[in-house]
Symmetry: C2
Subunit: 461 residues, 2 copies
């Protein structure tokens, strides 16, 4: 009874919230229900997760609406920026800092027919559909035939970015003078038919969207297993680099539905591990298939030999990555101020490179007009140098410094700057650090360089 009540609560509260990573959360919830049956300690873990979800919604990381009203869940401004930062770090690490990886961009829908028995999402023009329906002369059989043709014509939404890159392989060979190894990378949305259990969903749309980051690496067969190991090491280091608890990112053997072997990198969420990136050795089957087995055309040079390359695929789920770093960075801390109210200070200790907002500007005591001008000047200077600023000086609702810091900690803002009448006198601002909660004094002219060095240093650790 207790378990089913909990499930109901979960269904009511959680489900409507986290449609975004629906499949993921479905599993989280189911494993929570299982845990709940077996032990008590799961309760506190669930409460932590629930606090995090509340925070993500209140602080504009994830948005949500009522499904029946037709709203879709997606990223709010802070979540969108966090994800953008994650995307740009992935790209920097895999593409921009390497000589042999090139970015490509392919279409979201594939015209090539993929396996017919596989489940997939088809696109179709509703005018054409209406035309077929309106044609009353068609027999049932003819109508089915027309629909099938229509479906065939519209193309299929891509399930991953691998095929797009493989299609570009021959064209790209030319770019590298036929020399192996090299890689083609792409970040974009891929689509899956929704397979959520009916039990948990009443009126749900049937499409799930994921932002994938994909590297397709072409190397000689003799070196492909070394390259697989290389990319596993590289990618695991990368995921751990931005984490407070790096050991929650782990690697383990993996095999996909088609029998391809490799390694998956998991994040250990409160209720179980979920893969954030999968590295697989795909062999040359798909390459031969896409290029119609044209062996000579697809040969690359490995030293002095011409060989048909093997494909190693690195495929990350960046939406799940965002969830992983939100969980990783979420900390509950005792606060003397709040203890009486039985509350904790909630902080998102997001890595400086990923934090959506680096610094918040606020006005302390002093003449409003002048302070606002100073804030505006500093704000523009920081924005011009690509530092994301929260313009707290534009807010018209008065808040105490404590309230502000509580809010900024929940937003994952790294530094809070207060500009007050003493700034007007001697140029000194107060700078508070999210992670240490320490306050420091700094001359206003040094703020920009200090922040740039701080963020830069974090990326080189």
């Amino acid at each position: 009874m207790a378990a089913s009540l909990t499930a109901y609560r979960i269904k009511g509260v959680w489900y409507s919230r986290i449609k975004l990573c629906r499949k993921f959360f479905e599993r989280q919830i189911l494993s929570y229900v299982a845990l709940r049956k077996s032990s008590i300690s799961a309760d506190s873990q669930f409460e932590v997760l629930e606090l995090l979800m509340d925070l993500c919604q209140n602080r504009h990381f994830l948005t949500s609406g009522h499904i029946r009203m037709g709203f879709v869940n997606s990223y709010g401004p802070l979540g969108a920026e966090l994800k953008r930062n994650l995307i740009s770090q992935w790209w920097k690490s895999v593409v921009l800092s390497r000589e042999q990886v090139f970015g490509v961009e392919t279409l979201h829908h594939l015209v090539t027919a993929t396996g017919q028995n596989e489940s997939s999402l088809k696109v179709l023009d509703n005018r054409m559909f209406e035309e077929i329906i309106k044609n009353e002369e068609l027999t049932k059989k003819q109508m089915v035939a027309s629909f099938q043709e229509l479906l065939h014509k519209g193309g299929t939404l891509r399930k991953n970015l691998i095929q797009g890159a493989i299609e570009q392989y021959v064209y790209s060979l030319n770019l590298v003078n036929q020399k192996l190894p090299f890689g083609l990378a792409q970040i974009g949305v891929s689509y899956e038919p929704e397979t959520i259990s009916v039990e948990l969903s009443d009126s749900v749309d049937s499409v799930s969207e994921v932002t994938s980051a994909s590297l397709v690496w072409f190397s000689a067969a003799r070196t492909s297993s070394q390259w697989l190991d290389y990319w596993v090491r590289q990618r695991l280091l990368w995921w751990r680099k931005f984490a407070i608890g790096p050991s929650k990112f782990i690697s383990s053997d993996y095999q996909d539905n088609e029998g391809n072997k490799g390694t998956a990198l998991y994040y250990n969420f409160p209720s179980g591990k979920e893969p954030v990136e999968v590295i697989l050795n795909l062999g040359n089957r798909q390459l031969l298939q896409v290029h119609h087995g044209n062996g000579t055309k697809i040969q690359g040079r490995d030293g002095r030999k011409n060989v048909i390359p093997c494909v190693v695929s690195v495929s990350g789920n960046l939406d799940r990555g965002v969830m992983a770093y939100l969980c990783d960075s979420f900390h509950l801390e005792d606060s003397t101020v709040l203890k009486k109210k039985m509350q904790h200070r909630k902080v998102l200790k997001i890595h400086p490179n990923l934090a959506p907002i680096k610094v918040a500007l606020n006005m302390g005591r002093g003449p409003t007009q002048e302070l606002r001008q100073v804030c505006q000047g500093l704000c523009q200077e920081l924005l011009d140098h690509g530092i994301a600023v929260w313009p707290g000086h534009l807010e018209t609702v008065q808040s105490s410094m404590e309230q502000l810091c509580l809010k900024y900690d929940e937003m994952g803002v790294i530094f809070t700057i207060v500009i007050s009448d003493s700034t007007l006198e001697n140029g000194i601002v107060v700078l508070r650090n999210r992670d240490t909660t320490m306050k420091e004094m700094l001359h206003i002219s040094e703020v920009k360089n200090f922040l740039m060095k701080y963020i830069d240093a974090a990326s080189n650790i």
Copy 2:
């Protein structure tokens, strides 16, 4: 006869190439055919355009394949990087450098039913479709009903990013303390049913994808026309900033199919102007509709008053933007070397901020091993500082310096660096500028700073 032959040639050569911006090129071709009938000067313009398209394909800006073989046209490595740079400049200009614009990210498919009579692209799960077909008990009428339900369930692919932002409006109001004006921005793919004339297409898929950049700006009705003017000015300046021929970007009045008025920014392509960005005053109709006319919920603060805001929409087509800058930057120059062969030197004078590759490294005369090491060191230093490098030192095919420069000019590489035995002696490298073709000497230790300053200076003009 001549015209129809030309059309055939266009169909054969062009059409298979430029599926990417298909609708756009269809119109280009049709207007070319019209021009061809009326004057002679069109010929040379067309030849220039054809040279550009050859270059884009040879130099890995745009890729293509044979449609019947199932390949899709899309961006090659250089085009993908050019587009990425354009996207990041748009984002910087509209979002990152402003206090009142926030990025969001919404789903590619909408669950809300849009106007039923409108043409739109529906998504459907082919397993469900197969299930309906296999059910032999269904009458024709029942089958139609099942299909209609299936279509309703799958959702619609978005045609623009406006609705996604408007759905997030109420949630975002909270973020800005109800204070108007503010904006929500997003860059992503949107979809259109393909409306290419049958005459020009044999076996074409029916979906067209465009990368849209969208700002939805919420302001009080009394100021919305001022804001419209503001954004038109800002956006026109932005497009012109990166152009060699800024006057080819022009603005003129525009009205969309639904009667919304505003201004469109056009690029004057060789065969006619095409809009690259449209700024419209959408009023509050859609806002009220999405939020079910809930007037109090959608009110924002304009000074001391509570008002229902007006929506000004800025909507750019970044794929067409890429084409515009490719046309703009394409220059044919007389070359003494090539004159005998009746050829021109082809250069893509792409703006330093947009150029996909900033610098190419090459080895001159000297000991191969040592020179390669020096190149590798410099290459890594530049990559680490986010400067896109072409690793010419990895190429094993020998080319003369002249051949290399011809190639790099076509790729739009801004600087070509040659490292030779004199570099080993005194650290001096030779640096050749794409636009001036002048060669300069520079100490190898100064290369990184020189390039960073050069690119930075270009963004502040």
